[in-house]
Amino acid sequence: MSMSLLQVLIGGLMLGAVYALFSSGLTLIWGMMNVVNFAHGDFVMIAMYVAFMVWKLFGGGPFMAMPIAAMLLATLGIIAYFSLVRHVMKGPMLAQILGTFGLALLLRYGMFWTFGANFQSLPENLVGGTYDLWGIRIQASRLLAGTLAIVLTIALHLMLTRTSLGSKMLAVAEDSTAAQLMGIRPDRMQAIAWGLAAGLTGIAGALIATFFYISPTVGETLAIIAFVTVSLGGFGSITGALVAGLLIGVIESLSGYLIGAVYKDIVVYTIFIAVLWFRPQGLMGKN
């Protein structure tokens, strides 16, 4: 394998890790309360703008942006849950999908209106330059984002499977009436899930902003990537999302490198259709 191919591969893995991180929030909410957040990509977009503003106003990097974005987005997630999602999730499908889709538009065009359509980006060396490891060049920003994203995704998985909060959340996912009888408050658990999922988009956004373009409409692209990741990983599965996210990051980067940058999204979206046709239960799901 040539060095540059390896370089693309590693870059793709790092990008894919961030995809996995924000997709894990989508899959958590979907698995837990059967709601798909169509504004999920726009949550990431907001976080990217937070990172942009943090740099612009204070000259801060991702370590300053991450906590701010996480807090802000978690708050947004919890507000969205209590003011919107909780009410529409029991209604007809139309209400449920329109609810979060409307939120997506509000956020997207709110940012469009405030910041304009222009693409922004953070300075290339905000995190550090580019490392040269045995001839493989890798941006420090990607390395940081990828590593942190993997760690956090695994941490989310462990939290859900190993802690009492996690098992309460899974109990609500399994059967919210039964959970209620056991003294768990489904409402609170679901609000926590929204806070958690949105908080993770905050971190993911602050990380990806260090090497990705920032625009009001980037949320749509990221949302579709999250859909592909979640479907490929099997809905509700964090580990599935991790594997699928990494895979998609690699496929995207490779197709960008081998066929051309404009085709990388086309390849990823086509994979989505293929998954729906041939493997709707996801890669890991049983038949």
């Binding site: 003011s83 065009y109 259709i273």
Partner: protein, 327 residues
């Protein structure tokens, strides 16, 4: 007054509207209301009646629009002649999306509709024969009347009205036949419907394909009127949003819901664009987002339903005896 009298009165008003309001702006506005009402009524068949929320309906609109402009550009067809091509492509794409997803939970369907619309936009943006990022144009000067290229909006108004009546007629027929009953049953409770022998997946797919075909006609009409199509207007997500919000605001699953929605939102958008200029576009969609959230949260069945319920509450409901005699 009886329902049919009301309807005839409204129809008469719609017919004379462009003769009463003769300024080009108001005539064009009327034509646009009807055009979007066609697309939103078509969406209503799958989104409102079958309860499958397509958020990427622009892909069918784009099929119709691009088919007409492409066949004109490459073969010199009058734009309107490509209607069957656009419909066939739309029905094919509907099957591509619908066959795998309509047997899964409704979320997969909605996600797939967004992704395919975006996929189509990306592909078309990179295909020279379809005008790539620049787009395609129709006839500059009308060669024959069949090019349907007029400077006045009046002929378009009546053309769109005729098509809208056909779409509404078809919807009405569907609403009152077995498929309409089945779709409502599936929307209410798919498991129960299947226990009564309803082939849920198949009927949802039928609804989706019919909806797709009709939406593509709206796309063709759009392209004939504007004489131009590009990836943003023909395949951008904002057109999907417009189609869907008009149906949902007016009343998804109601025959005249989409028309009501279009009659409210199209003028609003035109006025806000005129007042605010380019900056208005962003703001319009902020407002659209807010409206969609409010509908979802408070009035998921739309304004027309709200109105009808108010009217029904005002007068006593007919007794079962009467209903039975009528039936």
């Amino acid at each position: 007054m009886k329902r049919s009298v009301w309807l005839l009165l409204i129809l008469a008003l719609v017919i004379v509207y462009p003769l009463l309001f003769t300024t080009p702006f108001l005539q064009r506005l009327g034509a646009l209301v009807l055009l979007y009402a066609i697309a939103a009524s078509a969406w209503n068949i799958v989104g409102g009646y079958a309860g499958q929320v397509s958020v990427g309906h622009v892909v069918f609109f784009g099929c119709g629009a691009y088919a007409s402009m492409a066949f004109f550009t490459h073969f010199g067809w009058p734009p309107i002649a490509a209607v069957p091509v656009g419909m066939a492509a739309s029905v094919g794409i509907a099957a591509l999306i619908g066959v795998p997803t309509l047997r899964l939970s409704g979320h997969y369907f909605s996600m797939a509709t967004i992704a395919v619309a975006e996929l189509a936009r990306l592909i078309v943006t990179n295909v020279e024969a379809l005008g790539a990022a620049v787009g395609l144009s129709g006839p500059v000067m009308p060669r024959t009347v069949f090019d349907l290229s007029f400077t006045s909006a009046l002929p378009y108004y009546y053309l769109f009205l005729a098509v809208l009546l056909v779409v509404l007629g078809l919807t009405y027929w569907m609403e009152n036949s077995r498929i309409g009953f089945y779709l409502r049953a599936i929307k209410d409770n798919e498991r129960a419907a299947r226990s009564l022998g309803v082939q849920a997946g198949r009927y949802k797919l039928y609804a989706y394909m019919i909806s797709a075909g009709l939406t593509s006609v709206a796309g063709t009409l759009y392209a004939t009127m504007y004489g131009f199509i590009d990836p943003e207007s023909g395949l951008g997500i904002l057109t999907s949003v417009k189609i869907l919000i008009m149906a949902a605001l007016g009343g998804a699953g109601l025959l005249f819901g989409p028309l009501v929605g279009a009659a409210i939102l199209v003028p609003l958008e035109e006025i806000s664009n005129n007042l605010l200029g380019g900056k208005g576009a962003g703001l319009t969609f902020v407002v659209y987002g807010a409206i969609i959230m409010i509908i979802a949260r408070f009035y998921p069945s739309g304004l027309l339903k709200l109105l009808l319920d108010r009217m029904a509450a005002a007068k006593p409901a007919p007794s079962d005896k009467q209903v039975r005699d009528v039936a």
